[in-house]
Symmetry: C2
Subunit: 406 residues, 2 copies
C-alpha cells in the first residue's frame, strides 16, 4: 500500500473536531503548576485503551477496565503529582468520588451524558487531597476550551519529571475525507512507580466501532509505546487511551490501513519523544534489527535495556562486544557469526570478529543526538525489521533516581 | 540434617592437599601485573563445571565442554586481560595451542599425565600475544607452588576491574575424615563482555565421581553464583570449575549432603564477595523472599536487577514503591496485598499500603554496608525462602562503564 502522507498540525488533542481540554492547579503537587487535566468530547466517543500489565496497579487502571466495558465514554480526567496507587481502600473510593464529582460538574455546566475514564501519575502510597481537588472541579470545567493553547497546555499539566511536554497532531485525507488525530503523552523513566508513569491520550474525529478501534490501538501500541524502554521498569499506572468521536463524519470503514498508519505516526512520535526525554538522557538510541530471527524483539529489547550498552552509548564508546553479549543472552536462537553490527552507520563487527574500524571516527559519529545501533542477520529467511527506542544511561539517571522520595 | 560447622582456613585453592598454583606476567595486559595463572593437581582429578549460557561465547567455553567429556583433567590455565572471544578462527587455534604448550611444559617439568581446562577474561575481539605468552610458559611452570601465598596470589592474578581479590577455603570433618575445599573467583559486573567475566575455580581433596560432583556443583551454582546479579548482563566467558583430586582419602559417598553444604559455603562466600565488589558498588544488597510463590526467584531477580531499586539503595531512599512495582512486573502470580516489605529490618509496606514508618530512621538504617530487602508473602503455602544478592547502582557504575574500550 501507499506510504501515508502526513501533515502535522497544531493543537495536540484539541486538533480533532469536537474535543475540549481544561487544566487547573488543584493542590496535588507541591509546585504550583496545573496538575489536573480534563479532556472532553462534545459527544460520547468510541474509546479503546491499553493498560500496564504490572500485577501491582492503581485503582484507575482497575476502574477503567470496567468503565470501558460499559462504554459511552465522553471524557478523561488525569491528575499529576499523586498516582493514587498502593494506598488501600481509600484510594479506590477517592478514584470513584473524583469521577462522579467531575461528571456532576460537567452535567451542571451543560451537555454531558457519557462516562469518564481516570488516570493518575505521581507519588504512590499517598492519598489525594480530596477536599482541595473537589473544590477545584468547577474551575476545571469552566476552563474547558478547544484552542491550540488548550491542547498544548494539557501536555504540560500531565508532566511529572518530564523535561519537555510531548504532543503531536496530524491531518489525514483531503476535502470531505479529512480527519485528524492528536495526542499528548508523558513519561520519563518507563516507569518509576513514583513519578514516571507512561501516559498517552489520543483523540480523533474519525468514526470507529469499539472493536475496530481497540484492535488497531493494540497493534499500534505494540509497535510504538511498547517498543520504548528507558530502564525496563513498568509502572503501576501506565495507560494509553484513544477517543474517537466521529465529528469529522469520516468513517474508519474502508480506510483501516491508512488510519492504522496515521495512528502509528502519532503514537510513534510521542513514544520517541518519551524515550529521548528519558531520565538523564543525552540522546535517543534506536536499535534496529534487519532480517531478524523469530523473537527478534527480545534481542532488540535486551540490547536496549542493557545498562552496559546504555552507559557505552553515553560515553560514545563503540563497544560492539557489549551489544553482541546482550544479544547472546536474550535466549533467542541465532548464529553470532552471521551478524553484522553497525554503530552510527559504521560497520564494527562481521563474521564473528570486529571489523577494522577507527574507534575515534566511530566514537565521534556516536556523539549525535540520534544514535543508531543496527544488527543485520545474514543468511536467514527474509523477515520484517524490528525497532526499539531507548536512551543512554548517564550520571544524571543515577542522580535523579538515587534520592527521590525523601 | 545438622547445620554444617565451618572452619575457615588460609590458602585458597592451595588449601586442599595436592594442589599447586603458579602465576606470571605474560604481557597480556598493559599493567605489569601477573596475568597468567596455572592451577595443577598432583594427580588427575575429577572435574565438573558450569558455563555461561550466552549464545555468544569464547573458545575456552566450547573447548572445555569437549575436554570435560573426555575426562582426566589435571590442571586449569587462566589468563586475564584478553577474553580470546569474538576474534575469529585464530582465537580457536590460540586456545588450543596454549593448552598444548602448557601440557608440554608440565610434562617436561615432571609428572603430568592429564588434560587441562582453559579460561580467559578481558577485552574481547582481540588476539592473544601468543609469542610472549608461549615464552612465559616455562617460568609459569617453574613458579608452581602450594603455599598459602601461592593460593592467594592466584586470586590477584585473575582480577580485571575487580577492586579486591576474592578467595576462601574451609576444612570440614575431623581426624581421618577431614577434607578441604578452597576457591578463588573474579567478576565485577556480572558481565561486561570486556572485562568483568565471572570466573570461579574451586579445588577439593575429597574423592568424588564425575557424575556426583557435577550434580552437586550444578545445584550449588544455582543457589550461589547464579543468585548474584550486578547488571543482569552475562558474559561470553563465565565459568565455574571444581577439581576434586581425592588426596585426603575421604570419599564423597556417605557425606553428600555435608559436602553440598560445604561447597555452598565456599561458592556462596565467593559469590557475595563478587556482588559486594560490583562495579561502583557501595554496599551488598540481599533480596530475600519469605514464603514466596512458585517462581519466586523471578520476583527476587527482577527486584535485584531494577535500576530504579538499585539507585534507591545507593541513595538510602526507602522507596518500597519501586520494589513492589518491580515485583509486579516479574510476570509471577501473587497478591500484592498479601506482601509485607521490610527494608534494613524496618517494615515499610503491608496490606497494600505503606506502613506508618519514619523515612529518616529507615534511610539511616539503609546506610549499612549490608542492606537487606525482605518480602514476606502472607497466606501462601509454606515454601523455601529465595535469596538473591546484588549491589547498589552509583555514579561510579556509569563512570566505569561509559568509557571502557576507547
Amino acid at each position: 500500500m501507499a506510504k501515508l502522507e502526513v501533515h502535522e498540525i497544531a493543537g495536540a488533542v484539541c486538533a480533532p473536531l469536537g474535543f475540549k481540554v481544561g487544566t487547573v492547579y488543584a493542590g496535588i503537587r507541591k509546585a504550583k503548576r496545573d496538575d489536573l487535566v480534563l479532556l472532553v468530547s462534545d459527544t460520547p466517543a468510541t474509546a479503546a485503551a491499553v493498560f500496564t500489565t504490572n500485577k501491582v496497579h492503581a485503582w484507575c487502571v482497575r476502574h477503567n477496565r470496567e468503565r470501558l466495558a460499559a462504554g459511552n465514554i465522553q471524557a478523561v480526567l488525569c491528575n499529576a503529582g499523586n498516582a493514587n496507587a498502593c494506598n488501600g481502600e481509600r484510594g479506590q473510593s477517592d478514584d470513584q468520588a473524583l469521577a462522579e464529582g467531575v461528571k456532576t460538574a460537567l452535567r451542571a455546566a451543560g451537555h454531558f451524558e457519557g462516562d469518564l475514564l481516570t488516570a493518575s501519575t505521581g507519588v504512590i502510597g499517598k492519598h489525594l487531597p480530596m477536599s482541595e481537588v473537589k473544590a477545584a472541579l468547577p474551575t476545571l470545567v469552566a476552563a474547558l476550551g478547544g484552542s491550540i493553547g488548550h491542547g498544548e497546555q494539557a501536555a504540560n499539566a500531565i508532566m511529572t519529571t518530564d523535561l519537555v511536554p510531548k504532543f503531536v497532531a496530524i491531518e489525514v485525507g483531503a476535502g470531505k475525507e479529512r480527519y485528524r488525530i492528536g495526542g499528548i503523552a508523558k513519561g520519563s523513566g518507563m516507569i518509576a512507580p513514583n513519578m514516571a508513569t507512561m501516559l498517552g491520550f489520543i483523540t480523533t474525529d474519525i468514526a470507529a466501532s469499539q472493536a475496530e478501534l481497540q484492535a488497531i490501538l493494540t497493534r499500534v501500541v505494540g509497535r510504538t509505546f511498547n517498543c520504548i524502554t528507558v530502564d525496563g521498569d513498568t509502572s503501576t499506572n501506565d495507560m494509553v487511551i484513544v477517543l474517537a468521536n466521529g465529528a469529522s463524519g469520516v468513517p474508519l470503514a474502508g480506510r483501516e490501513q491508512e488510519f492504522e498508519q496515521a495512528l502509528e505516526y502519532v503514537c510513534g512520535t510521542l513514544a520517541r519523544k518519551i524515550a529521548r526525554d528519558g531520565e538523564g538522557a543525552t540522546k535517543l538510541v534506536t536499535v534496529t534489527l534487519i532480517n531478524p530471527p523469530p523473537l527478534g524483539e527480545k534481542i532488540a529489547k535486551t540490547i536496549a535495556e542493557s545498562p552496559l550498552v546504555k552507559t557505552a552509548c553515553f560515553g560514545n564508546d563503540p563497544n560492539w562486544g557489549r551489544i553482541m553479549a546482550a544479544a547472546g543472552r536474550s535466549e533467542v536462537e541465532f548464529n553470532p557469526s552471521s551478524v553484522v553490527v553497525r554503530l552510527a552507520g559504521h560497520e564494527v563487527f562481521r563474521d564473528g570478529e570486529p571489523t577494522a574500524f577507527d574507534p575515534t571516527v566511530v566514537s565521534a559519529a556516536m556523539k549525535a543526538a540520534d544514535l543508531m545501533i543496527e544488527l543485520e542477520f545474514l543468511g536467514t529467511p527474509k523477515s520484517e525489521p524490528v525497532t526499539v527506542w531507548t536512551c543512554d544511561f548517564s550520571y544524571d539517571y543515577v542522580k535523579i533516581n538515587a534520592d527521590y522520595t525523601t
